[in-house]
Symmetry: C2
Subunit: 612 residues, 2 copies
Amino acid sequence: MTETLDPQTAALDTTSPRGRAEKWLADFDEALRTRDIDAAVDLFALQSFWRDLVSFTWNIKTSEGRDGIRALLQETLERTEPVGWAFGEEPTEAGGVIECWLTFETAVGRGKGHLRLKDEDGELKAWTLLTSLRELKGYEENQGANRPQGVEHQLARGRKSWLEKKQEEEARLGRDMQPYVVVIGGGQGGIALGARLRQLKVPHVVLDNHDRPGDQWRGRYKSLCLHDPVWYDHLPYLPFPPNWPVFAPKDKIGDWLEMYTRVMDVPYWPKSRVTSATFDEDTKTWSVTVDRAGEEIVLHPKQLVFATGMSGKPNLPSFPGMDVFEGEQQHSSQHPGPEAYTGKKVVVIGSNNSAHDICGALWEHDADVTMVQRSSTHIVKSATLMDIGLGDLYSERAVEAGVTTDKADMIFASLPYRIMHEFQIPLYQQMAERDKDFYDRLEKVGFQHDWGDDGSGLFMKYLRRGSGYYIDVGASELVCDGKVKLAHGDVDHLTKNSVVLEDGTELPADLVVYATGYGSMNGWVADIIDQQTADKVGKVWGLGSDTTKDPGPWEGEQRNMWKPTQQEALWFHGGNLHQSRHYSLYLALQLKARYEGIPTPVYGLQEVHHTS
Amino acid sequence: MTETLDPQTAALDTTSPRGRAEKWLADFDEALRTRDIDAAVDLFALQSFWRDLVSFTWNIKTSEGRDGIRALLQETLERTEPVGWAFGEEPTEAGGVIECWLTFETAVGRGKGHLRLKDEDGELKAWTLLTSLRELKGYEENQGANRPQGVEHQLARGRKSWLEKKQEEEARLGRDMQPYVVVIGGGQGGIALGARLRQLKVPHVVLDNHDRPGDQWRGRYKSLCLHDPVWYDHLPYLPFPPNWPVFAPKDKIGDWLEMYTRVMDVPYWPKSRVTSATFDEDTKTWSVTVDRAGEEIVLHPKQLVFATGMSGKPNLPSFPGMDVFEGEQQHSSQHPGPEAYTGKKVVVIGSNNSAHDICGALWEHDADVTMVQRSSTHIVKSATLMDIGLGDLYSERAVEAGVTTDKADMIFASLPYRIMHEFQIPLYQQMAERDKDFYDRLEKVGFQHDWGDDGSGLFMKYLRRGSGYYIDVGASELVCDGKVKLAHGDVDHLTKNSVVLEDGTELPADLVVYATGYGSMNGWVADIIDQQTADKVGKVWGLGSDTTKDPGPWEGEQRNMWKPTQQEALWFHGGNLHQSRHYSLYLALQLKARYEGIPTPVYGLQEVHHTS
């Protein structure tokens, strides 16, 4: 599908989208080939963004404006040696913006790109450019036409079967064969990364303390279904089948993850808890101590990945009287489900996703439930979010329009974080309009809801703080109907059988659930490595948007995710299924390059502005 | 993608493939709508074939020539009510044949078709027509845009989670909830059918006597890999991922089948052996007695499917002296693999696939192996077969050319069995040429090989008799090199430590393996139901081609496979992965129609000419 751009012979058509884009791309190619950074920078608009996923920067990095792009090129152009810029498919134009899909090569790899061009002072300039490394030369994945044979068409004495090789690897791994990468955490993040690393032939192991893959989901409350629709949730290589539910029940996802781990041959140790890890600066090697079903094993990888869940460690508040209260108290992550609480009085502190899910399930089991709202929450109805928020990229209609999962991921990734909220705000305005009756009812019962600090809604809240919202799959209606009771304000103290709010309201309780959220993922680093390393690495997640729970300064990318950190050989991976799928590729390629000894000079290593 | 044909307004273009085909299809549509059978028949060539998969016939049936097609229409046209004939995609022309993809509807369902038109006496006539039922109206599968939601966006007391419903179904199935269909055998055939029936919401259970799904493959000799390439092997709904090996190792296939069973929610009872089954003519109900892990359970389904393997029951020969022989004797199906036979003398009776596989593995384990060739065998090299024999339909190049698995299956199904060998012969001539050196070497050591009675090669042998060939993945080279020794002729008798051939050759043996093939699948019917029913149903598999091991008269379709048999409510399913995938749809639709009470008058029920 790729067509080579040949500026010598192409009769330039300066009116069609393709013709105009060809001119830009030929100029860009020429500028890069001749290392003429001024000329290259001049091809970008005043407000412009070049987001690079590993191909130029060995980092995940957005360079903003001409100055940012100049700085990027000054440090990376010479060593990257980008060539062969071509269109992956026909450029299109809409609303004054020409959209292009690109392919290119660097000294060490092959990349794909996405480009938006628009007129500025009569000249076509790049508004957004996304470049991404897709494979390393000489280390292409065995897929498609390049898939493994599976059988040797020749018999030989002493040859080993697939099963024997697999069993031998299992027996040796961590004993006389060290993994190059240890991944802590075997949820969707760890598993997706594991599948990529297997494909890239990087020796690794995924450690998880549950009994089997998928238990991370199975163990949650029984009515839980994914809040994101199926089109958004595919794992790498093996998409869900066409009969897969839009919102998969948690046990079904559990089964899928278990199956996926097996058929993708992910080296996975269940029942394996990491008790400590230390990095030896001299040998550049980690020592990772693992309790594997009761046996202590020390692993010595070169790279350590935390895939322990972007939610990090539970935040448990400290209210006066918690030691006096005679009923049960749980963080939401410890809540075993509603079954045992029929007829009981339950107070749930918090009003985000977990609080709603837990309140709804408790009501379904005839508990007497009160939700304590301490601050405003963003609420969107699931069907509305799916239709307006994701429908253009991740839906059956997108599939029918030719937007493959990879294309959708690239389009998504091409929107610069700096201006992403501008794209989001009108969508949420539409949602507010469509569901006006619903919001009126919510307001009528006194539920405080918001659309984010700047009206940009759920996805920005997710990227900025990972909290502050509920995707309504029914619990909001219970709040509207008064079936789940609502109280407001912070907790003042607990008595032996009640929660007392700051305004004096006393809520009798047999059970108090603290749906009070989670800390930054570097909390796990403090636990497993040490506080010093956690502080050195700093806060994980968030953009530095200077909005609630996402303090500035502006970072430009999500803090510490899928890219080098201030601690050598320490990485973070995770997020929802979409992010686990998409970013696992770039993290895996960064690890693969290091494994093969390919130089990986990092441009723009993130600074640390917050420790938690 | 479907375009409606409107003969009123379309300006007929009588020169392009589409224009010419449109005219034919408009005439065909008109003839069928007006029930003008003469006119319809007149649209077919003198030598012509209409193969129907369930849509007109509620059978799998090829009608041959104008008389055959006339008879088909006389009995089925009125009740089928076919309408809405349209092109599914643009017709193409090659070698004087116009190829069309069709869509149509019947009174009860929607169909897809494939049509080849060619000139006969200056007029365009149908040479081959394939019609297939793809879904029943009102019972469309939940897939794609119609996939299940997975979550109700409303909370309600007493609602059950996906897991609870699943567990409840598992607990009740076969106790207070009877399956409508019982499938005996849970290899790829039973599992694929199970997945289809689940999608179609037909209560069923798949019974298998192994410990877990996939053990049918795991239990075989350790170096076994599939002999068919990955593109040919996909199961319904969930294709293998792009990194799947071309020829999957048997344990990997085992894992895939196990996981497939789980994620497709196939109701599957492992460790379950059917000890007997009887049909009550009055209640039209089966009583199927199952030993389920030691517990006896009697199931009462309305339909019974044998998916016990197209190979049927092992053929064990009866040679004088078998009772005298003091070493080990095994049928190939009982052979545990080579590990225990290092340094032993092994005589393998037979020279087809199993014989070669077993000899090769024994040689790899340093056994002293002699293959006894009793009759000629067809040999093709795996890579050659894959390239020349399957490459146009099932390969990476086919995928790249837009030949999806469904399209490939339809093209394959569109070739009438009566003339299929004519398409096959030139392919095998090519193979003979390409691998001439190899065949010369085989002949030099005295190996007797053939290309089938009419030179039509492997696939026809497979369809006609299911035996008589070896796809060489290395063992033939061992024969050429004399590493596996070769002897000829039938066995005269065994002594206490040797096999003596008819020509007096004595072969010392510690182990004798009888790679002597399998009987017809109705042998299982004799065992589980009774001999009378086995005889009533007759021989399973084969076309009646009047070639070796496939006696005439001509049947036109594979005997008893995937279609109604002479025993009401008794069905056979199976074959390779391709057949398990493709025909499971038509078998499932036949079962679904019966489950829903849709009339299913069978046209052309197969007569029985052979009992085994």
